[in-house]
Amino acid sequence: MVASEPKGHGQHAGMWVFPDASTTSRDLSEKTRSMPQRFTMALMVTGLLFIVGIVGFAARAADDGFDEIAPWGYYMAVFSFVFMISSGAPLVVVAFRFTKSHWRRPISRIGELFSIVCLLNLLMFIPLMFLLPDLANPDGAVEGQLELRRTIWFEGPIGAPHAWDLLGVAFLAITSLAILWTSAMPDMAESRGTATGFRGWVYKRLSSGWYGTPRQWDVQKAGLALLGAFYFMTLIFVHFEISSDYAQSLIPGWKDSIFPVIYSVTALQMSLGAILVVLFIMRRWGGYEGYAGKSVFWSASKVLLGVTLLWIYHMFAFFITFWYGRLEVEQNIIQYLITDTYGIVFLVNALFSFLAPFALLIWNPVRRSDWGPALAGVLVIIGGLAFCIRIFVGAANAAPGHEIYDLFFEHVPAPVYPDIWDVFMVVGGIGAAIFVYLVATKMLPLLSLWEIKEGTLYQKWGRFMKGEYLILGKPE
């Protein structure tokens, strides 16, 4: 069932849609329940990849154990890849909700559903906690080495870094799930009487007591604002922890205040890209074209272009500081991560994270299409994967054994290519994330029902002078 015909004329044709609020709940509930053949196939394929990933993980653990971090570089890379997308996606939603933009309504739930993938992040992080070398040098004070390796945990407080990192990742997952629950509660309440099986059981328990009174809407609005603000503050901090503990502090002498920012910017770029890819798939093959016009892509593509420019700005700032500094350790880090050892991966990273999406998104007709921003989304995701491989495989293999306590990064090691188990873990990790997301889409509607309906109160297609235009209302 198509909720509405797309509106707009000239270059804005198909930009806006106006769903019928009276049929939205029934239609979206049916879509959530249905299991089209294509969806089932995707579920099976990603499920198989999930198993492949588990096999790769088990084989790596059997071969190398958990004593050294070096063999787990590709595992770190795929953890970071999934973590960056799934942790950034709720923030993208929170940010657009803060700005009270109407066009973001169709992407709210798409982003929030990544919270379920955060649970996978948490599971994947547990082995990493054991792999992180101790802060204190087991040999004590040795010439040419540090007694306590360089870290943000300057005086090594209780539990640092392992427990604090785990706590950070766990609370990020809890906060994003709380955002999802707060946002989805009205939608679950709508279906708690009709949903059956496990879905019905979950809806009844998680939306018990919600009736949509003015007080409940008021508290929900304030709750989403508060949780969103805290999510933002926690996310940036946890990105800082992960990029510092699992990248910078594993390469002796790497001190860089710009890198955590690059990490966060790359995460937000990939998250927005992933959201646009999901929206494109929903519109093209899922029957959601009546709920999301091209205006969503048009508006989001400008933000994506901005983040893409931010990425190259920070990357260049990182490079020029080290290049101009010319200290031996800085030269070695540039050679290791950018020009020599992982030079090819860096080129792929720069091509997909900046050059290709920039060349695509500068064109107005491309930004106004649905395929253009979605294609840019695919590109930045590939670029992000190259970023994670370059940084985390590089960091894990930069200073094997006790070299991690060295004062400086004195030698530029050779690249580490993936073996079969690494390939299994990378492919499996990505497959597992998609599998979990697909399962989540069958638990909750892919569109936020109440936000779509709220949108219909404030948007309509109406006549002004000789033409017809989008008319927007502002409740505040």
Binding site: S25, R26, G209, V219, G223
Partner: protein
């Protein structure tokens, strides 16, 4: 006498607002009726009572507790094991800030979640009066009245334009 719920269903927001006015004119206390919607309407759209919540207090209390715990944890650890690192003072703020920030955030978030549950009056294990037509855009006006006023309230809601009035069976 125990109060019983009665739910009027309205097709338009204007009719629901009229019902609110009629209830007020009939002397029904503003705390005894509520508007049930499937989407948030602008504040005051139905002429409903203003109800303030105290959600903003919860994260402040949580943050204060987390901040205190963080400061105590870091300072007491440093004082218990006074090791000079890099020539910095035993109690130097930058390294303490990392742990303190994290503990502050974590407790603020936990208290916010508790606040949402408390201020939304959740969970309610006893199912209240509801009608699934509200999910199709109808607006429910839920009134709690004495048993002997049920018929009078039903008439009032119907006169205001209710397409259906539901009572608890």
């Amino acid at each position: 006498m125990a109060k019983l719920p009665i739910l009027g269903l309205f097709e338009t927001a204007d009719n629901a607002a009229d019902a609110g006015d009629a209830l007020k004119a009939a002397g029904v206390a503003s705390t005894d009726y509520d508007f049930l919607t499937d989407a948030p309407y602008p504040e005051g759209a139905f002429g409903e009572r203003h109800e303030s919540h105290r959600l903003y207090i919860f994260p402040f209390v949580g943050a204060l507790i987390g901040l205190t715990v963080g400061i105590m944890l870091t300072s007491m650890t440093q004082m218990a094991y006074p090791l000079v690192q890099g020539g910095k003072p035993i109690l130097s703020l930058p390294p303490m800030a990392v742990v303190t920030y994290e503990s502050t955030m974590l407790t603020a978030i936990a208290f916010t979640i508790i606040g949402i549950i408390f201020e939304s009056r959740l969970p309610a294990f006893k199912q209240g009066l509801y009608d699934t037509r509200i999910t199709e855009g109808y607006i429910g006006v839920l009134v709690n009245v004495d048993e002997d006023q049920l018929t009078q309230t039903q008439t009032l809601l119907t006169q205001a334009g209710a397409i259906d009035v539901v009572r608890k069976s």
